[in-house]
């Protein structure tokens, strides 16, 4: 399993009144993976991960699921290069209900989001991993999401992984 931080949509969205964009966000990332060594230098490490974003409001939430299909190449000693394909699924959910809000010159009733929607996107990623021990590693992955389309967004994750066999 692994613990870390996942930053999605880096540099896309406004974060303050000055119009500055958000490059980093704190979103704890929990992952589970399995490691297949099919040679002394190559491994396949499929991974399922969950990123828990800060709750935007009491009425709606956002979460990111990730499925990674990485192949790792042992470059030199404890240094590994990883790369492959991934799926990022964004989940936006709301509790429903309605709220009176300002609407120009008066007040109107607006609906709060109800239910959940899932938005999948395919991604390509490249990463680096350093293994302190056979079972303990730290890694950094950079994702391009979605593939073959615009606008592309940059996502990256930094995590510490523990391998148990």
């Amino acid at each position: 399993m692994g613990l870390g931080n996942l930053v999605t949509d880096s540099g896309l969205y406004q974060k303050n009144r000055k119009g500055q964009k958000q490059n980093f966000e704190y979103a704890p990332y929990l992952s589970f993976h399995y490691r297949w060594e099919f040679s002394s230098r190559f491994e396949f490490t499929p991974e399922l991960g969950f990123a828990f974003h800060k709750r935007p409001s009491p009425n709606h939430s956002r979460m990111t699921f990730m499925l990674l299909y990485p192949v790792s190449w042992r470059m030199w000693r404890r240094h590994y290069l990883r790369g492959g394909l991934a799926n990022l699924v964004t989940r936006v959910a709301g509790k429903g209900g309605s709220v009176f809000m300002n609407n120009g010159n008066g007040v109107s009733l607006f609906a709060r989001p109800s239910g959940a929607t899932y938005s999948p996107a395919a991604a390509a990623f490249l990463g680096y991993e350093y293994r302190f021990r056979e079972y303990l590693a730290v890694r950094f992955d950079t994702f391009l999401v979605p593939m073959l389309a615009r606008p592309m967004r940059l996502a990256f994750s930094l995590s510490t992984n523990l391998y148990y066999f």
Binding site: Y13, R17, R41, M101, A111, P113, L144, M152
Partner: protein
Amino acid sequence: MIKILTLLSFAASVTSSAFTLIITNPARYATNNVEIRIANNDCDNLGLSAQDVKDMVAISVGQYWNTVPSSKIRFHSGSFVDVAEDASLTDMKNSIEDNQIIIGCSKNSDLFDSANILAVGTMTVSAPARGIVAINNTAGSRFSSLSESNQRATLAHEMGHAIGIGHSTHEYALMYFVLSESIKQESLARDDSDAITFLYPNKSKVPFLLGSCGQIRDIADKDLWFNYIFVLSVLALFLMWFFVAGSFNEMQKPQRMKL
């Protein structure tokens, strides 16, 4: 006392809400690529021609709503359409086809009974979806006093209503209910992105686990081809490493002598 309690409950409800929808289940556009038609009448009280509005819309969608990777919907500025200069929202709605949005100026005094109303955006309540954005072109309209960037932000805000999004309480969200000169609205906020993702998420054409490659916008788009070649190059390089280094690794293995 009742008034105070009502005000308090209103304040509490406002501060605890983020993005909202215009109604619980708004009509959705049936296409991923929505055409925005431009009313072919000049906005004489604002000093804008129909072409100026069209150019402003093109920049606005590129700056705001077309920037969300987790949403399938994209907008493009389309052709002109004839409407009266005092057209009502119904007149404007009837001048376009389904799954289109119309943006244009109007001098309709019923619609704009105050110069402080900058613009109005809405959409049909039930499918098929049609969106309407009317800019206040009555005499003394405050729209003309806005900076160009705030005019674009206003259009994008009303377009948000035209796709089903309501107001937000996040003060730096595009859909915040007040346009403030002190807030520089350069892009969407995360709250706006959540709203459009909630209404128009990417859809997978293949089983869920394979996901979606997003929106392939235009085969002639040079950037698209650049992305395509870039991703393929990275994968090709990785495969080369895989095979070349793998073969090298096999050669390095100590060979047992056969006796």
